[in-house]
Amino acid sequence: MKIAVFVNHVPDTEAKVKAGADGRSIDPAGVNFMLNPYDEFAVEEALRTRQALGGEVVVVSLGGDANKETLRKALAMGADKAVLLKDASARDSFGVASALADFAKEYGAEIIFGGKQSIDYEGAQVGGMVAELLGWPSVSVVVKMEIKDGTVIAEREIEGGHEIVHATLPAVVLAQKGLNEPRYPSLKGIMDAKRKPIEEKTPAPVEARVQVTALRNPPAKPPGKIVGTDASAAAELVRLLHEEAKVI
């Protein structure tokens, strides 16, 4: 089976967010980047799928040279091949999805894994767009899955429960935490990953459909009121919630 995994290179969760000179995107100075956490579950599920059904796992990322670090991490976990769709411009979700869908077609992917969303823009758009562009079914926010007779049987999280979804292959599966426990790369994996080539491709240009006009920090909250330091403050707290905030 030809298995593709889309991985994203994102600022780590501790990163300070400040707009750069353009006022629209993050200033990367002093920011550490990493493999998008949800994509780790996707890589792990791809490796398990390969183990169960055979085939190969190719990891794909769109971005600049910096994304190679994230591709190498996925290689170190055990992916067979890595492809960088080289475009350092800030594409919108559709632009990213178009490039990934083109790649999946050219590669002949039979299943695509990705994370449920990236932790930078948090749009949760790309996976569904790729599926639609390919005319494939998709399942998002997946916490459990198996492949049976050409169908992905997946459990996805919804408000107050789970949905059991059947999606016929080829399909796009978008991972949520809980799907699996991602493996740590072994020392041998890390050494091997250094030697594996990363293929570079230039994706076709796509006209943007969404424009970010400003990135700002949310207004700082005025310091909260410390009502007290023990149980005697409970009455005052409840009074404030009732009379001032009017939420009880």
């Binding site: 600022p11 969760t13 967010v17 993050i26 956490p37 919108d92 979700s93 559709f94 999805a97 930078d120 823009y121 749009g123 949760a124 569904g128 767009m129 599926a131 639609e132 079914p137 998709s138 399942v139 998002s140 926010v141 999280e157 919804i158 408000e159 107050g160 429960g161 789970h162 949905e163 059991i164 979804v165 059947h166 999606a167 399909a171 935490k177 809980g178 459909r209 969404v210 970010v212 990135l215 700002r216 949310p218 909250k221 310091p223 909260g224 410390i226 009502v227 007290g228 330091t229 023990d230 149980a231 403050a233 409970a234 009455a235 707290l237 409840v238 919630l241 905030a245 939420v247 009880i248």
Partner: protein, 320 residues
Amino acid sequence: MKILAFAEQRNGQFKKTAFETVAAAASLGGEVTALVIGGTAAAIAPQLGGYGAANVIAAEDPAVELYSATAYAKIIAETAEAAGADVVLLPASAMGKDVAPRVAVKLQAGLAADCTALTAAGGVLTASRPVYGGKGVVDVVVTTPRKVFTLRPNVFTAGAPSGAAASVERRAVSLQPSDLSSAVKEVKQSGGKKDVSEADVVVSGGRGLKGPEHFAMLEELAGLLGGAVGASRAVVDSGWRPHDEQVGQTGKTVSPSLYIAVGISGAVQHLAGMSSSKYIVAVNKDKDAPIFSVADYGIAGDAFEVLPAVTAEVKKLLGK
């Protein structure tokens, strides 16, 4: 401006986000058509008139009683085409987030997802949406002729319904088997408890509670306030609480009216999931815990003493 608002229903009942989505559409000004999809959509469709929908289209078919990403996307996009909609609004719920990217591609439209504000000024719609775990906010303009937006639940308020009526049109659904290539076969409810992402009050616990048995205190308070119990990542990873209660990155994003964090220090990953709550209360022994930096009210004390006292006061207030 013509707007199509997708009104989500499950089990023949509208989700709260259905009213929020229709009301948000009405607040933009213009002609609002609402769409309900389901086995018995027409029965509930008239309710949407009170929130500002002039017309409601009920796409009824047993095949779409349960959600299907592929079939719902087709119906929503076809309805938008037929209604000549310039704008399509959906909730950023599990369903809306799943279907919206497909709808956008079908309509060759740009999509701004999980918006917390949407304003129309001088013919331009500008959306604001949180990014980087709530540490940033971006203003976004969709540049395609048709535009799709998903709205974060609990942020756009629906208000009380007016007595206005909507005209309801029942529309037959014509689907090929391939349109159902992704389909929900079964829904497993988690024991009827309220979901953190839908509750108006969330009482969350962290490591400071010292063990799963102490969550009973939170359940009692949440029950009194008609809310849900949430959990930090640490306690979910320790197996004290199920993952569907986790608030924060790798969990759920919530925007309740009241969020009470008990024994939660407030790591950035947690703040990412709850900082857009309207009022935040923190109860934590450590007065320097980062949770106090986002809290509106705090008690820097021992949760085991403070929480029962708060619960007792709430009981008094509610006359229980």
